[in-house]
Amino acid sequence: MTDATLAPARQPIVRRYPVLLVFLGCLALFTLGVTILSEGFGIGIISTSFVKTLGKTLCLCLVALAMDLVWGYCGILSLGHMAFFGIGGYAIGMWLMYARTEIIVVQSLSAAPLPPTAQEISDGIATQIFGVVGASEFPPIWAVAHSLPLQLAAVVLVPGLLALVFGWLAFRSRVTGVYLSILTQAMTLALALYLFQNDSGLRGNNGLSGLQNLPGLGHVPQSTISIWFFWASALALGLGYILCTWVVSGKFGSVIRAIRDDESRVRFLGYPVEAYKLFVFTLTAVIAAIAGALYYPQAGIINPAEIAPIASIYLAVWVAIGGRGRLYGAVIGAAFVSLLSTYFTGGQAPDINLGFYTIQWVNWWTVLLGLSFVVVTLFAPKGLGGLFDLIAARTAPDRHGADLGPDVGALREKEAEK
């Protein structure tokens, strides 16, 4: 027997995952189309604010991708990834706000008879930024806010470290399943409550604002900046998709799927389950943070309400509706649901007059979303992505039979038979 029979020569990743090329192609076409139709670089059919909405949606698709990797592939239902998303936004927002305020303060001080000292500039910036919470000094966490490279590093490092420490604590003590979900939710809640305080150093519930103005680029119109961010978001989504595909493609991907299906069995086969989970958890936290860092300059404002547990729950909703366990499903779900939400809650959807009652979508959209979520969970566990199976003529196994493993939620007998 040769090695070749044991391990067949690995085909290139695009051959094994043709979806990757299709997805990247679609993304490129979409980006090109939006650019051509935009105000900044094209014929101006799509308004700047809608370009921003589309750019933000791409960022949400990226964080949904991360959620799919950690939940759909590794089975960890994290209700904390929007917290990492928010931390990424705060990290970049601190630099944006500092740098922009610095320009304004230096400008106003330059009119004074004496050239300003470094201390005066710093005091001026602090008063501008923290006057709203009644403080006039920089809290310690703003120590590196003056430096773009350091804050960019913080975008990756702070959520990464938080995820690493939290994940290490949680996985080490074998907190799994719903307990882990509740624990991550508690972490998110703790973070949100902390940020809501005025003395947290991040302006309490005022949050950081004015993030859409890039420092030093005041002369560039928002229509151009919006396209830049749109491109950056598309690029990030494309790279994120390639990275996630690569992660789930090889042996590593098989192991994390196995962990999802029966964790104890994988552990008994000798794999360090905790290390795998920790890696996936931290990696996805970093991806979420990068998505957040791209999202909030387009949104213009970030406040602690964005980090509240409900945001992470919506993230799970998007992935579930899109279809978890397949990367394009998460992207489709996030894009579909978030755009639909924007449509309905933005007041654009026409009201439905039932005669005795008028359904206003602003009020009823959330009800519909919640119920459709229940319906998807019950009747279409594959979500929207399952529609592609119809095209590919892949049918689901009949869901009946006994549990295969000892764990609750283990694969069931008939499901394992393909």
Partner: protein, 657 residues
Amino acid sequence: MSVFRRFFVAALSLLVTLAALPVSAQDAQAPIQRLLQEHGEIIAKSSRRTIGPAIDALAASGLDEAQTVLERWREKEMWQNKDTGLFVYAEEIDRRTIRTFDFATSEALGEFEDKAYKQLKPNSGIRGLISAALVRFQLTDPNPQARTAALNAIERDADETHLAALRAVVDAESDANIAQRMKRLERLLTIRFAEEDAERIAAIQSFEGDLGVDVRAALNPLVVTRLDVDSVLPNDADVVRQIEPGTDALDVDSAYALLVSKDLAVERISRDAQKAALIANIDGGSVGGIQLASLNTEAGRDLAYTALVQQGAVEPAATDAEVRETLENFAFFERYSAVSPEVALAAQAVLKGIENKVAVNQTIDLGLDALSLASIYFLAAIGLAITFGVMGVINMAHGEFIMMGAYTGYVVQLFVPDYTLSILLAIPLAFMVTFGAGVAMERLVIRWLYHRPLETLLATFGISIALQQLAKNIFGTQARPLTAPGWLDGSLVFNDIVSISYIRIAIFVLALLFLALFLIVMNRTRLGLEVRAVTQNPRMAASMGINPDRINMLTFGFGSGIAGIAGVAIGLYAKVTSEMGSDYIVQSFMTVVVGGVGNIWGTLLGATMVGTLQKGIEWLNPSNTLAAQTYMILFIILFIQFRPKGIIALKGRAAEA
């Protein structure tokens, strides 16, 4: 004989008066009038500085009429006849005419033109003195209510004259309660106003261990300190402590400012003032010979300022280094500033004892607070202890069941105005509503997902989102009131520090009732037995003739129903909003998980721990509930690291079920 003679004289003078003033029947020799005449001059003069003896004499006269005089005088109703100098009180009939009355007999004397009389108009200072004197009369008023009112008035706004007044009456008081209050007030006033230090110290020491707020209010002003400075620390008795400049108690700037104010050091210049001085001396692109461009550092500005000092353009000012050096040569300390050191020390000692006792009582109060918070968490979590703890179904819409219960209570109150009746109606109704909702949810959603806890979590999330928005659509976003019956108003007060509101006691009792209910249902009824059988081994239970579907449905309904009742209780305590459920859901799950899933005693311990912790952290970091919740959640996350199965972990077969 003398009595005879006085009578004779009085009669004679009466005759004379009658003859002289035929219209007036006023007796110039009545004791009260004689007293007034004695002090007639100073009364007419109406000066706050000299009026004292007159008021004192009136107050000390022991005459009943003195009270009338003082009252009328204060109300500017006392007039003096310009001819005879006699005093009367009068009411104005019209602008020119007054009707006068005799003080001695209270009889009307007739109507006169007001030109013949001079109205006495005491200023506010004198009126204050009169009022103080009047308190003495009120204190001896036969009506106990008047005496209590007088005591209240003194408590509100005491001055030194009250002390003597109180001392004069305190021993004669017959009503025991009032006597007690009088004695206490007398001691409090002694602390504040007595002249002799020994008296004050005795009074201070008599309050040892007294928790009253009034005692601390009387003592605290005595131990006020002020900052002082000397080249060495003086060895005086009134020196409280030495303070190092540059610590939290005293920053360098204010220490140096004190030295400057005592002319012990030259003034320091603030950065702003320095900047202004530099700007004032700009001389064609440079200051003191230094280029403007190099003034963008503090060192550069100091240099320029020194140059200006050398030129004599500005006053010299101390630099930071000089400030430090100067400060080292002095000792800063605090000394008692209000009273003599002996009194202050005695007050300090008593205060310290009181503060220790206050701390003990505050701990007790905190314990009660923690207990009531714990019972709220327990109430919120007990339904979850059934659905999640016993059945293992994770229901994220549990908080919304709490909300539904609370809104049921609100709706019942819309129809039943009587609060007691409406609460009694609301409790079973809330149970029924949420029981129905729970059963419906179990039938429609949860039973399809028994093997998939993560999906149960998601589906119930969906329901939770939908229910919350539904409540918002129906009831609006503003908070709705759920009013407690009148007999639950107020609180049980143990002393000035320890108290607990009745509503919290009611919630505590309700929590205990629920605990009992849970234990009875689970351990003493057929349903409980079947529930335990089904949760441990559904197949075996089914083969014994138990219908697991029915049991699951009932159990879930029971847990949801309890959540509904908890909602009524929580609604009484907090406001009813569509988000009230989500405020409790994470804490409820924490309570169950920390306590140990599947054990009601664990839930009880978990609630106690979570409640105590939150109150404890709030106490460490007052007025910051957000931070308290943050740290509590962090603590729980860490706690689960060390006891992943909770405080009470199930062992053996039950743990595997």
